[in-house]
Protein backbone atom coordinates (compact mmCIF):
# COMPACT_ATOMS: atom_id res chain seq x y z
CA UNK A 1 0.00 0.00 0.00
CA UNK A 2 2.87 2.32 0.75
CA UNK A 3 4.28 1.41 -2.61
CA UNK A 4 1.15 2.43 -4.47
CA UNK A 5 0.93 5.60 -2.41
CA UNK A 6 4.48 6.47 -3.35
CA UNK A 7 3.74 5.65 -6.95
CA UNK A 8 0.65 7.85 -6.92
CA UNK A 9 2.45 10.79 -5.38
CA UNK A 10 5.31 10.61 -7.85
CA UNK A 11 2.86 10.35 -10.71
CA UNK A 12 1.05 13.42 -9.44
CA UNK A 13 4.33 15.20 -9.06
CA UNK A 14 5.28 14.27 -12.57
CA UNK A 15 2.00 15.55 -13.98
CA UNK A 16 2.31 18.77 -12.04
CA UNK A 17 5.88 19.20 -13.26
CA UNK A 18 4.67 19.04 -16.80
CA UNK A 19 3.01 22.37 -16.24
CA UNK A 20 5.24 25.16 -17.39
CA UNK A 21 7.73 26.34 -14.81
CA UNK A 22 8.67 29.94 -15.19
CA UNK A 23 12.42 29.64 -14.93
CA UNK A 24 12.83 33.32 -14.29
CA UNK A 25 10.67 33.03 -11.18
CA UNK A 26 12.30 29.82 -10.02
CA UNK A 27 15.78 31.26 -10.31
CA UNK A 28 14.64 34.47 -8.63
CA UNK A 29 13.30 32.50 -5.68
CA UNK A 30 16.51 30.50 -5.46
CA UNK A 31 18.73 33.55 -5.49
CA UNK A 32 16.43 35.49 -3.18
CA UNK A 33 16.36 32.61 -0.68
CA UNK A 34 20.14 32.39 -0.79
CA UNK A 35 20.58 36.12 -0.32
CA UNK A 36 18.10 36.39 2.54
CA UNK A 37 19.29 33.25 4.32
CA UNK A 38 22.90 34.37 4.16
CA UNK A 39 21.99 37.88 5.30
CA UNK A 40 20.18 36.46 8.32
CA UNK A 41 23.15 34.16 8.93
CA UNK A 42 25.42 37.21 9.03
CA UNK A 43 23.34 38.55 11.88
CA UNK A 44 23.08 35.30 13.78
CA UNK A 45 26.69 34.12 13.59
CA UNK A 46 29.23 35.13 16.20
CA UNK A 47 32.38 34.13 14.37
CA UNK A 48 33.53 37.14 12.35
CA UNK A 49 35.20 35.06 9.61
CA UNK A 50 32.02 33.12 9.01
CA UNK A 51 30.13 36.41 8.93
CA UNK A 52 32.39 37.59 6.15
CA UNK A 53 31.85 34.36 4.23
CA UNK A 54 28.07 34.54 4.53
CA UNK A 55 28.21 38.15 3.40
CA UNK A 56 30.13 37.10 0.30
CA UNK A 57 27.45 34.53 -0.50
CA UNK A 58 24.68 37.02 0.13
CA UNK A 59 26.16 39.68 -2.11
CA UNK A 60 26.88 37.12 -4.80
CA UNK A 61 23.26 36.01 -4.73
CA UNK A 62 22.24 39.67 -4.94
CA UNK A 63 24.33 39.97 -8.08
CA UNK A 64 22.33 37.06 -9.46
CA UNK A 65 19.13 38.92 -8.63
CA UNK A 66 20.46 41.94 -10.52
CA UNK A 67 21.12 39.78 -13.57
CA UNK A 68 17.60 38.40 -13.39
CA UNK A 69 16.19 41.91 -13.30
CA UNK A 70 17.92 42.73 -16.56
CA UNK A 71 20.61 44.94 -15.02
CA UNK A 72 23.55 43.03 -16.48
CA UNK A 73 26.07 45.80 -16.09
CA UNK A 74 25.14 46.50 -12.49
CA UNK A 75 25.30 42.77 -11.73
CA UNK A 76 28.78 42.48 -13.19
CA UNK A 77 29.84 45.64 -11.34
CA UNK A 78 28.44 44.23 -8.12
CA UNK A 79 30.54 41.10 -8.59
CA UNK A 80 33.66 42.99 -9.56
CA UNK A 81 33.56 45.95 -7.18
CA UNK A 82 31.48 44.86 -4.26
CA UNK A 83 32.28 41.18 -3.95
CA UNK A 84 35.69 41.20 -5.60
CA UNK A 85 36.87 44.48 -4.11
CA UNK A 86 35.04 45.72 -1.07
CA UNK A 87 34.56 42.30 0.45
CA UNK A 88 38.16 41.30 -0.19
CA UNK A 89 39.11 44.48 1.66
CA UNK A 90 36.77 43.51 4.47
CA UNK A 91 38.16 40.00 4.61
CA UNK A 92 41.68 41.40 4.76
CA UNK A 93 40.59 43.54 7.67
CA UNK A 94 39.05 40.52 9.32
CA UNK A 95 42.22 38.50 8.89
CA UNK A 96 44.36 41.32 10.24
CA UNK A 97 42.27 41.63 13.36
CA UNK A 98 40.98 38.10 13.85
CA UNK A 99 43.23 37.24 16.72
CA UNK A 100 41.75 34.45 18.78
CA UNK A 101 40.00 36.52 21.47
CA UNK A 102 38.32 38.72 18.87
CA UNK A 103 37.02 36.11 16.50
CA UNK A 104 33.81 35.84 18.52
CA UNK A 105 32.87 38.86 20.57
CA UNK A 106 29.54 38.10 22.13
CA UNK A 107 26.77 40.60 22.68
CA UNK A 108 24.71 40.42 25.85
CA UNK A 109 21.34 38.81 25.36
CA UNK A 110 19.34 41.91 26.28
CA UNK A 111 20.91 43.86 23.44
CA UNK A 112 20.11 41.06 21.04
CA UNK A 113 16.47 40.98 22.09
CA UNK A 114 16.12 44.73 21.70
CA UNK A 115 17.80 44.57 18.31
CA UNK A 116 15.49 41.77 17.29
CA UNK A 117 12.39 43.71 18.23
CA UNK A 118 13.53 46.81 16.37
CA UNK A 119 14.43 44.70 13.36
CA UNK A 120 11.10 42.93 13.32
CA UNK A 121 9.24 46.23 13.52
CA UNK A 122 11.29 47.70 10.68
CA UNK A 123 10.77 44.59 8.57
CA UNK A 124 7.03 44.75 9.10
CA UNK A 125 6.90 48.39 8.08
CA UNK A 126 8.94 47.77 4.95
CA UNK A 127 7.05 44.68 3.85
CA UNK A 128 3.70 46.35 4.42
CA UNK A 129 4.76 49.30 2.32
CA UNK A 130 6.03 46.91 -0.36
CA UNK A 131 2.59 45.33 -0.61
CA UNK A 132 0.73 48.60 -0.41
CA UNK A 133 1.15 50.01 -3.90
CA UNK A 134 -1.10 48.15 -6.33
CA UNK A 135 0.83 48.93 -9.48
CA UNK A 136 3.95 47.27 -8.09
CA UNK A 137 2.21 43.93 -7.85
CA UNK A 138 1.41 43.61 -11.51
CA UNK A 139 4.14 41.63 -13.18
CA UNK A 140 5.38 42.19 -16.68
CA UNK A 141 3.79 40.53 -19.67
CA UNK A 142 5.76 39.46 -22.66
CA UNK A 143 9.43 39.65 -23.53
CA UNK A 144 11.64 42.67 -23.80
CA UNK A 145 14.86 43.13 -25.73
CA UNK A 146 18.08 41.70 -24.36
CA UNK A 147 19.74 44.14 -21.99
CA UNK A 148 22.58 46.22 -23.29
CA UNK A 149 25.10 48.36 -21.51
CA UNK A 150 25.25 50.99 -24.24
CA UNK A 151 22.49 53.28 -22.89
CA UNK A 152 24.13 53.25 -19.48
CA UNK A 153 27.53 54.04 -20.92
CA UNK A 154 26.13 56.87 -23.00
CA UNK A 155 24.24 58.20 -19.96
CA UNK A 156 27.51 58.42 -18.09
CA UNK A 157 28.87 60.49 -20.93
CA UNK A 158 25.92 62.85 -20.54
CA UNK A 159 23.85 61.64 -23.48
CA UNK A 160 20.58 59.83 -22.84
CA UNK A 161 19.90 57.44 -25.71
CA UNK A 162 17.33 55.22 -24.02
CA UNK A 163 13.78 55.68 -25.17
CA UNK A 164 11.54 54.16 -22.59
CA UNK A 165 7.92 53.76 -23.74
CA UNK A 166 6.74 52.84 -20.26
CA UNK A 167 8.47 55.67 -18.42
CA UNK A 168 6.22 58.00 -16.51
CA UNK A 169 5.81 61.39 -18.23
CA UNK A 170 7.20 63.27 -15.24
CA UNK A 171 10.35 61.19 -15.39
CA UNK A 172 10.56 61.51 -19.15
CA UNK A 173 10.87 65.27 -19.11
CA UNK A 174 13.87 65.56 -16.81
CA UNK A 175 16.15 62.93 -18.30
CA UNK A 176 19.63 64.25 -17.84
CA UNK A 177 22.98 62.62 -18.24
CA UNK A 178 25.20 61.51 -15.41
CA UNK A 179 28.43 63.13 -16.45
CA UNK A 180 28.85 65.43 -13.47
CA UNK A 181 28.19 62.75 -10.81
CA UNK A 182 30.57 60.47 -12.72
CA UNK A 183 33.38 63.02 -12.52
CA UNK A 184 32.63 63.82 -8.90
CA UNK A 185 32.71 60.14 -7.97
CA UNK A 186 36.04 59.72 -9.77
CA UNK A 187 37.61 62.54 -7.77
CA UNK A 188 35.91 61.20 -4.66
CA UNK A 189 37.48 57.78 -5.17
CA UNK A 190 40.89 59.38 -5.58
CA UNK A 191 40.46 61.33 -2.36
CA UNK A 192 39.28 58.20 -0.55
CA UNK A 193 42.28 56.27 -1.85
CA UNK A 194 44.72 58.84 -0.54
CA UNK A 195 42.85 59.30 2.71
CA UNK A 196 42.50 55.61 3.49
CA UNK A 197 46.13 54.95 2.69
CA UNK A 198 47.13 57.76 5.03
CA UNK A 199 44.80 56.70 7.82
CA UNK A 200 45.86 53.07 7.75
CA UNK A 201 49.59 53.64 7.50
CA UNK A 202 51.69 51.47 9.76
CA UNK A 203 52.48 53.11 13.03
CA UNK A 204 54.24 51.79 16.08
CA UNK A 205 51.62 49.99 18.10
CA UNK A 206 51.06 51.26 21.62
CA UNK A 207 50.94 48.72 24.42
CA UNK A 208 47.39 47.96 25.61
CA UNK A 209 45.99 49.81 28.59
CA UNK A 210 46.06 46.98 31.14
CA UNK A 211 49.71 46.18 30.58
CA UNK A 212 50.52 49.88 30.46
CA UNK A 213 49.20 50.61 33.94
CA UNK A 214 50.90 47.53 35.37
CA UNK A 215 54.09 48.60 33.69
CA UNK A 216 53.72 52.11 35.14
CA UNK A 217 53.30 50.65 38.62
CA UNK A 218 56.35 48.44 38.17
CA UNK A 219 58.35 51.37 36.87
CA UNK A 220 57.22 53.51 39.80
CA UNK A 221 58.09 50.85 42.38
CA UNK A 222 61.27 49.96 40.53
CA UNK A 223 62.25 53.61 40.40
CA UNK A 224 61.87 54.10 44.11
CA UNK A 225 63.87 51.13 45.26
Amino acid sequence: MMGTLLGDSTATLGMVLLAAINWHSLLFYLFAAAACACAVAVVLTDNVVRMAFYLVLSLGATAGIFFLAGADFVGAMQLMIYVGGTLVLLVFGVMLTAQAPFVSIRTPASDKVLGGIVGAALLMVLVLSAFSVESWRRPAMGLVAAPSATPLGMAFLGVRVDDDPLAAPAVDSIRSGYLLPFEIVSVHLLVVLVGAAYLARAKRRRIPRGIETAGADAAATGGRS
Binding site: L5, L6, L13, V16, A19, I21, N22, H24, S25, A39, V40, V42, V43, M51, A52, S58, T62, I65, L68, A69, G70, A71, V74, M77, Y82, G85, T86, L90, G93, V94, L96, F102, R106, T107, G115, V118, G119, L122, L123, L126, V127, S135, R137, R138, P139, A140, M141, V144, L152, F156, L166, A168, V171, V185, L189, G195, A196, L199, A202, P208
Partner: protein
Protein backbone atom coordinates in the same frame (compact mmCIF):
# COMPACT_ATOMS: atom_id res chain seq x y z
CA UNK B 1 7.61 11.12 6.08
CA UNK B 2 9.08 10.77 2.68
CA UNK B 3 5.81 11.76 1.06
CA UNK B 4 5.79 15.18 2.64
CA UNK B 5 8.49 16.66 0.43
CA UNK B 6 7.00 15.65 -2.92
CA UNK B 7 3.53 16.64 -1.79
CA UNK B 8 4.78 20.04 -0.66
CA UNK B 9 6.58 20.50 -3.93
CA UNK B 10 3.47 19.46 -5.83
CA UNK B 11 1.40 21.89 -3.83
CA UNK B 12 3.94 24.59 -4.51
CA UNK B 13 3.82 23.98 -8.23
CA UNK B 14 0.07 23.58 -8.33
CA UNK B 15 -0.53 26.86 -6.57
CA UNK B 16 1.24 28.59 -9.42
CA UNK B 17 3.89 30.28 -7.34
CA UNK B 18 6.63 29.07 -9.58
CA UNK B 19 4.83 29.73 -12.82
CA UNK B 20 3.79 33.30 -12.13
CA UNK B 21 6.24 35.97 -13.14
CA UNK B 22 7.73 37.95 -10.31
CA UNK B 23 6.83 41.57 -9.83
CA UNK B 24 8.41 44.56 -8.17
CA UNK B 25 6.90 43.57 -4.83
CA UNK B 26 8.97 40.39 -4.65
CA UNK B 27 12.13 42.39 -5.15
CA UNK B 28 11.06 44.92 -2.54
CA UNK B 29 10.52 42.18 0.02
CA UNK B 30 14.00 40.80 -0.66
CA UNK B 31 15.39 44.32 -0.33
CA UNK B 32 13.50 44.76 2.94
CA UNK B 33 14.93 41.57 4.40
CA UNK B 34 18.47 42.54 3.41
CA UNK B 35 18.01 46.05 4.79
CA UNK B 36 16.60 44.81 8.10
CA UNK B 37 19.37 42.25 8.51
CA UNK B 38 21.87 45.03 7.97
CA UNK B 39 20.23 47.30 10.51
CA UNK B 40 20.08 44.57 13.14
CA UNK B 41 23.68 43.66 12.36
CA UNK B 42 24.75 47.26 12.88
CA UNK B 43 22.83 47.45 16.14
CA UNK B 44 23.82 44.14 17.66
CA UNK B 45 27.41 43.43 16.72
CA UNK B 46 30.27 44.51 18.93
CA UNK B 47 32.96 43.78 16.39
CA UNK B 48 33.66 46.90 14.33
CA UNK B 49 33.96 44.78 11.21
CA UNK B 50 30.57 43.27 11.94
CA UNK B 51 29.12 46.76 11.89
CA UNK B 52 30.80 47.37 8.54
CA UNK B 53 29.15 44.26 7.21
CA UNK B 54 25.82 45.58 8.39
CA UNK B 55 26.41 48.76 6.43
CA UNK B 56 27.14 46.71 3.30
CA UNK B 57 23.91 44.77 3.74
CA UNK B 58 21.91 47.97 4.14
CA UNK B 59 23.34 49.45 0.96
CA UNK B 60 22.64 46.24 -0.89
CA UNK B 61 19.04 46.20 0.21
CA UNK B 62 18.67 49.72 -1.13
CA UNK B 63 20.33 48.68 -4.40
CA UNK B 64 17.89 45.81 -4.88
CA UNK B 65 15.06 48.31 -4.52
CA UNK B 66 16.54 50.68 -7.07
CA UNK B 67 17.16 47.92 -9.57
CA UNK B 68 13.63 46.63 -9.12
CA UNK B 69 12.16 50.03 -9.84
CA UNK B 70 14.31 50.47 -12.90
CA UNK B 71 14.02 47.01 -14.35
CA UNK B 72 12.50 46.51 -17.79
CA UNK B 73 11.48 42.94 -16.96
CA UNK B 74 9.26 43.68 -14.02
CA UNK B 75 7.01 46.39 -15.28
CA UNK B 76 3.44 45.65 -16.08
CA UNK B 77 1.04 48.07 -17.70
CA UNK B 78 0.33 51.13 -15.71
CA UNK B 79 3.24 50.81 -13.33
CA UNK B 80 5.59 53.73 -13.30
CA UNK B 81 9.26 52.95 -13.54
CA UNK B 82 12.40 54.97 -13.38
CA UNK B 83 14.07 53.18 -16.24
CA UNK B 84 17.77 53.72 -16.65
CA UNK B 85 17.97 55.95 -13.59
CA UNK B 86 17.53 52.93 -11.35
CA UNK B 87 20.61 51.23 -12.74
CA UNK B 88 22.65 54.43 -12.67
CA UNK B 89 21.76 55.16 -9.06
CA UNK B 90 22.56 51.58 -8.08
CA UNK B 91 25.96 51.95 -9.76
CA UNK B 92 26.71 55.10 -7.83
CA UNK B 93 25.64 53.41 -4.59
CA UNK B 94 28.05 50.55 -5.27
CA UNK B 95 30.91 52.96 -5.94
CA UNK B 96 30.24 55.08 -2.89
CA UNK B 97 29.81 51.99 -0.71
CA UNK B 98 33.23 50.78 -1.80
CA UNK B 99 34.77 54.16 -0.99
CA UNK B 100 33.05 54.32 2.38
CA UNK B 101 34.07 50.77 3.25
CA UNK B 102 37.68 51.65 2.51
CA UNK B 103 37.62 54.66 4.80
CA UNK B 104 35.75 52.81 7.55
CA UNK B 105 38.21 49.96 7.38
CA UNK B 106 41.11 52.40 7.60
CA UNK B 107 39.56 53.91 10.70
CA UNK B 108 39.03 50.44 12.17
CA UNK B 109 42.63 49.47 11.52
CA UNK B 110 43.80 52.72 13.07
CA UNK B 111 41.66 51.95 16.12
CA UNK B 112 43.06 48.43 16.25
CA UNK B 113 46.61 49.74 16.07
CA UNK B 114 45.95 52.08 18.97
CA UNK B 115 43.87 49.89 21.27
CA UNK B 116 44.73 46.34 20.15
CA UNK B 117 41.07 45.46 19.94
CA UNK B 118 38.17 45.84 17.53
CA UNK B 119 35.53 45.70 20.22
CA UNK B 120 33.70 49.00 19.87
CA UNK B 121 32.64 48.91 23.51
CA UNK B 122 36.26 49.77 24.20
CA UNK B 123 35.96 52.95 22.17
CA UNK B 124 35.00 55.11 25.14
CA UNK B 125 37.96 57.46 25.43
CA UNK B 126 35.73 60.49 24.85
CA UNK B 127 33.08 59.30 27.28
CA UNK B 128 32.28 61.78 30.05
Amino acid sequence: MNLIAPLCAAGFFASGVLSDPVSVTHYLVVGAILFTSGVVCMAVKRNALGILMGIELVLNGANVNFIAFGSPYLRGEGSASIGLDGEAIALFVILLAAAEAAVALAITLNFYNNHSTVDIDEADDLQG
